[in-house]
């Protein structure tokens, strides 16, 4: 099983050890640094989920909750529609796996939902903080 990045709506760049991701469909953007950035680059490089777990477990063997931490992180990627599970190896964009940081901190996905003011160009759209834009009013 693999994780397919939801291109073309999800675009990403690794820069200065941090990954910036933009979800053009949801109006949200994200950043991942440290351990998570190294993990994301391996997702982008087409590593299988088993390979991700293996690398993570080997690299951060001393971390108390590594096994749970990676699952939490991968689920964050899924729930934010950044990746989708796939049976076949995904097409990759040439992203190279980045070196992991020396110290461990649980991988975390930081979500930015501050683009609401852009929608003032069209007052009909409404935004919820959790779901991004636009979502039909209840």
């Amino acid at each position: 099983m693999f994780l397919q990045i939801n291109t073309p709506n999800v675009v990403h760049e690794a820069i200065e050890g941090e990954v910036v991701i933009v979800n053009l469909e949801k109006g949200l953007y994200f950043s991942i640094d440290g351990v998570g950035a190294a993990l994301w680059t391996r997702v982008a490089a087409g590593h299988s989920i088993d390979e991700l777990r293996g690398w993570f477990g080997d690299t951060f063997a001393a971390a108390d909750n590594a096994a749970a931490d990676i699952e939490t992180f991968l689920e964050q990627l899924r729930s934010n529609d950044l990746v989708t599970d796939s049976d076949s190896a995904p097409e990759t964009d040439g992203t190279e796996p980045s070196a992991p940081p020396d110290s461990y901190a649980p991988p975390a996905l930081e979500v930015y939902s501050d683009m609401e003011e852009l929608l003032l160009l069209d007052p009909i759209h409404e935004v919820s903080d959790e779901a991004g834009w636009p979502n039909a009013p209840a």
């Binding site: 760049e13 200065e16 910036v20 053009l24 953007y29 950043s31 003011e117 852009l118 009909i124 636009p134």
Partner: protein
């Protein structure tokens, strides 16, 4: 009926605009945008001034085959309505915007590799672009209902689609500088981009933009003028730069509008049409007595520049993002704490441009 269903909407739009052109006196305008020739065909005069004042600084008398052709028409003054199928489409978009429009106002049903299509609900503007023919049709329901922001940055979606193959990308950024170097000012609304860009006119700096400009990667990073507009947020902003008040075209604006001005009509000599890019600056309003410029990271700059640009401009995609990332890696990036003294803040930019352009 075309054998290619993806081209049906395009064919219908062409048929409608030909009817509008036949019902009026066509008016042609030519512009050199990013160094490329764009020709606009207006069906009658109603949309000429509202949609060309913002790009007047790029007017050209160039003849010959244009690289882009845009057909512009409206229903209210031509008396030509949208054909029934397109009318039904527009009505559907109003009825089901969250289903039929993407967050960037793209019409999902019509969008594919060849055709780009957007509909602006508030402005009631329908745009369709044929990437193969490099031809666009821009329909407005009623010119009198065009909001100030559409007049201030017209055709931005068409231009973004058209210019991308030329390695030119529109961005949400202000820019000031001089012919041998300019800086981008980027960040989300309220960060001080427009105010700082306009304040720069009190220095030796020239003005590229306050809201949207373009950057080119074709031959070294370069900033390009697209719109000559300037905007001030509210009465407080205008009170801080009262010398712009005679330039404002919408003094009777409603409370949520910004004050709009066209710098080409008042200070054309202060406009800078293109310049090498030297740096990217992230302004922010700060409680400081004196303005302060400090280096910041490329990743912080990318987060300030890319989302706000990409979310507003259909056509911005992974390749655009990669170009922006390359830009922030290549250029020095700074954070600018803006003080209440706007001229002092602008002089910091003036010094920065001078220092970087000397190197």
């Amino acid at each position: 009926m075309s054998m290619d269903p993806d081209l049906d909407a395009l064919a219908l739009m062409h048929r409608d605009r030909r009817r509008a052109e036949a019902a009026t006196t066509p008016i042609e305008r030519n512009f050199a945008i990013g160094g490329h020739h764009a020709r606009f065909h207006f069906a009658g005069p109603a949309l000429v001034e509202p949609l060309t004042r913002a790009i007047a600084q790029l007017a050209t008398d160039q003849r010959g085959e244009p690289d882009l052709t845009v057909h512009v028409w409206d229903s209210a003054t031509t008396g030509v309505p949208l054909s029934p199928l397109l009318r039904a489409l527009v009505d559907s978009l109003h009825g089901n915007p969250f289903t039929l429009l993407t967050p960037r106002h793209e019409i999902a049903l019509l969008t594919n590799e060849r055709v780009g299509a957007t509909y602006e609900l508030g402005s009631q503007v329908l745009t369709i672009y044929d990437r193969v023919e490099r031809e666009a049709i821009y329909w407005v329901n009623d010119p009198d209902a065009l909001p100030y922001y559409e007049k201030g940055a017209p055709f931005r979606t068409v231009l973004n689609w058209w210019l991308a193959p030329h390695q030119i990308h529109l961005i949400h950024a202000a820019a000031v500088g001089r012919p041998d170097g300019a800086v981008l000012l980027t960040g989300k609304g309220g960060s001080g981009k427009s105010t700082t860009a306009l304040a720069s006119l009190a220095t030796s700096l020239q003005y590229v933009s306050d809201d949207y400009c373009a950057f080119s990667t074709a031959s070294g990073p370069e900033v390009l003028s697209i719109y000559n507009t300037g905007k001030l947020r509210d009465e407080d902003d205008l009170a801080r730069q009262p010398h712009f008040e005679p330039w404002v075209v919408n003094s009777d604006r409603a409370g949520d509008q910004k004050y709009l001005m066209y710098l080409a009509e008042h200070a054309p000599e202060r406009l800078l049409l293109r310049a090498p890019l030297r740096a990217i600056v992230l302004p922010r309003v700060a409680a400081v007595d004196t303005p302060r410029l400090e280096p910041t990271s490329a990743v912080a700059t990318l987060k300030a520049l890319a989302p706000t640009s990409m979310f507003q401009l259909p056509g911005a995609d992974g390749a655009t993002f990669a170009h922006m990332a390359a830009l922030v890696r290549q250029l020095p990036c700074y954070r600018l704490d803006c003080s209440p003294d706007l001229t002092a803040t602008a002089r910091v930019l003036e010094d920065l441009v001078a220092d970087l352009s000397r190197e």
